[in-house]
């Protein structure tokens, strides 16, 4: 039975493709079909907000390397529209039904659209999630707009601002928080990024919301009206407002899925609406909400590159019946961002941190390790151009060390834990 079973992977991005590879590696012998909404073969997304925008990488040159001879069947350009658990079939938007014995859900996220549909439809208003988005935005930037307005100073917004400055474009970056990246790093560390933005010549406006986008007679965006008064004239607007999980296709399927993701257990098994695992159905990557041992406030979904790979591999092991002895998925959360030629990396989870301490280097030099504590425990560390120290902090986080850890390190000045300065509630643009 297991020998000939049919597997379907829904989602043909990083988690989907690494999951399909792992499924084969773990001994799945039957057909594996990978369903992807985009028409393109799997590609790497991080360059889309960086080197693609500067023109240094081509949007069609990001295809992911894959193992050869895996005998995968690709259904690209096909959107999954429904899941029929009783019949064990994935229903495509075309109405076609793909029966499965094993299913990996890896549908990821999409860019959160500009909230006003009419304004979002104006020419010149962009989001960055897919290869085609990035190709369109790159073309718009290459045309040399007089000003680019980026709304949202999260990682995508800051990276896009960095890319625009690299190619010499005037940029305004607005964000409701008091500092860039504030919801992930806190305002104390975020203020370092504020320095980077300003030094690079970005017109950065914290604590600022956009009330409306204004178009011209031909339907092209020409300006943004700010909530506090004033306007910013811009020919290109990038809405960098975060991501929305692609779970709508699971509505009514009997699995626990909502805007926060599709729920699964520590072995990536998808849960039904009663919280029981559904046999032969797993989820991984950005769309999967699961109980991570470091997440103290309940199940979480991570939008991290490395997580997509590692969780997909774990999910594939579960699906292939190889989960015994591995324990629940508990890989250390980790991500990176590069902007303004600075390498920002993070391990652990800053959520709910009540203290931060710079244990090595200094904020002033923009080269440091900042450690985050929560209720006296070490929960996260962030490095700016100090990547080689992070493994030591990851080990301290994993061990649940008291905060602050690693006292007596080289390049450690006198440090005092401070308020990390997280916005009290998530600010909406």
């Amino acid at each position: 039975m297991a020998e000939a079973s049919r597997a379907i992977v829904v989602g043909a991005s990083l988690a989907g493709v690494r999951g399909a590879e792992a499924l084969r590696r773990e001994g799945h012998r039957g057909p594996i079909t990978v369903v992807g909404e985009e028409p393109h073969p799997p590609y790497d997304r991080p360059p889309l907000s960086k080197r693609v925008l500067t023109g240094e990488a081509r949007p069609d040159g990001l295809a992911l390397p894959m193992h050869r001879g895996l005998d995968l069947t690709w259904r690209l350009g096909c959107r999954a529209a429904g899941l029929d658990l009783a019949a064990r079939a994935v229903v495509l938007a075309s109405g076609e039904r793909l029966p499965f014995d094993r299913l990996l859900i890896a549908t990821g996220t999409r860019a959160r659209p500009w909230p006003d549909a009419g304004e979002a439809a104006l020419a010149g208003v962009h989001t960055i999630r897919n290869r085609d988005d990035a190709a369109r935005l790159r073309a718009a930037l290459a045309a040399g707009p007089a000003r680019v307005l980026i709304v949202g100073a999260g990682f995508i917004g800051c990276e896009a601002a960095s890319a625009c400055r690299t190619i010499g474009l005037p940029v305004t970056l607005v964000d409701p928080n008091p500092a860039p990246l504030a919801s992930v790093l806190g305002t104390r560390v975020g203020s370092v990024v504020q320095g980077l933005l300003r030094q690079a010549g970005v017109d950065y406006r914290p604590g600022t919301r956009v009330a409306a986008l204004e178009g011209d007679a031909s339907g092209r965006v020409r300006a943004a009206r700010l909530a506090g008064g004033g306007t910013v004239a811009a020919e290109v607007v990038v809405a960098a407002l975060g991501a929305v999980r692609n779970t709508e296709w699971l509505a009514g399927a009997g699995v626990a899925a909502d805007a926060g993701g599709v729920s699964c257990d520590g072995d990536c098994r998808v849960l039904d609406t009663h919280g029981q695992p559904v046999a032969g159905v797993v989820a991984a990557g950005d769309v999967a909400r699961f109980p991570h041992p470091l997440a103290q406030d309940g199940p979480v979904a991570f939008e991290h590159w490395g997580h997509a790979v590692e969780q997909a591999e774990h999910a594939a092991r579960t699906l292939a019946g190889r989960s015994d002895g591995h324990g629940p998925y508990a890989a250390m959360p980790a991500f990176w961002s590069s902007q303004f030629d600075v390498n920002i990396k993070s391990v652990g989870l800053t959520n709910g941190a009540d203290a931060v301490a710079v244990t090595q280097g200094s904020l002033a030099e923009r080269r440091f390790v900042a450690v985050y504590g929560r209720a006296g425990r070490t929960v996260a560390a962030v490095s700016f151009d100090s990547t080689r120290w992070l493994p030591a902090y990851a080990a301290r986080i994993e061990a649940g060390d008291a905060f602050p850890p690693i006292v007596g390190a080289t390049d450690q000045g006198r440090f005092a834990p401070a308020d990390p300065g997280f916005p009290t509630r998530p600010a909406r643009t």
């Binding site: 240094e56 040159g61 390498n343 990547t387």
Partner: protein, 71 residues
């Protein structure tokens, strides 16, 4: 060819930049930038970069397989 680097693992040792200088470079102190689609004539260099990486963060596919659609 196709190249992807796991930048979580990358620790900016820059060994790839020496092994394949046309395909990898460090910007600033430790931002690795690379060509995700280098031309086939750089295969030996890229292989050297893969081997030289102290954390084995580079993955590459010399001759990409054409994805097989449902046929």
């Amino acid at each position: 060819m196709r190249v992807v680097v796991d930048l979580n693992r990358c620790q900016a040792y820059a060994q790839c930049c020496f092994a394949a200088p046309d395909s990898f470079a460090i910007h600033g102190l430790e931002v690795l930038v690379y060509d995700p689609a280098p031309p086939p004539e750089r295969r030996r260099e890229i292989e050297r970069a893969v081997q030289a990486c102290p954390v084995r963060a580079i993955r590459f596919e010399a001759v990409p397989e054409a994805p097989r659609d449902r046929g």
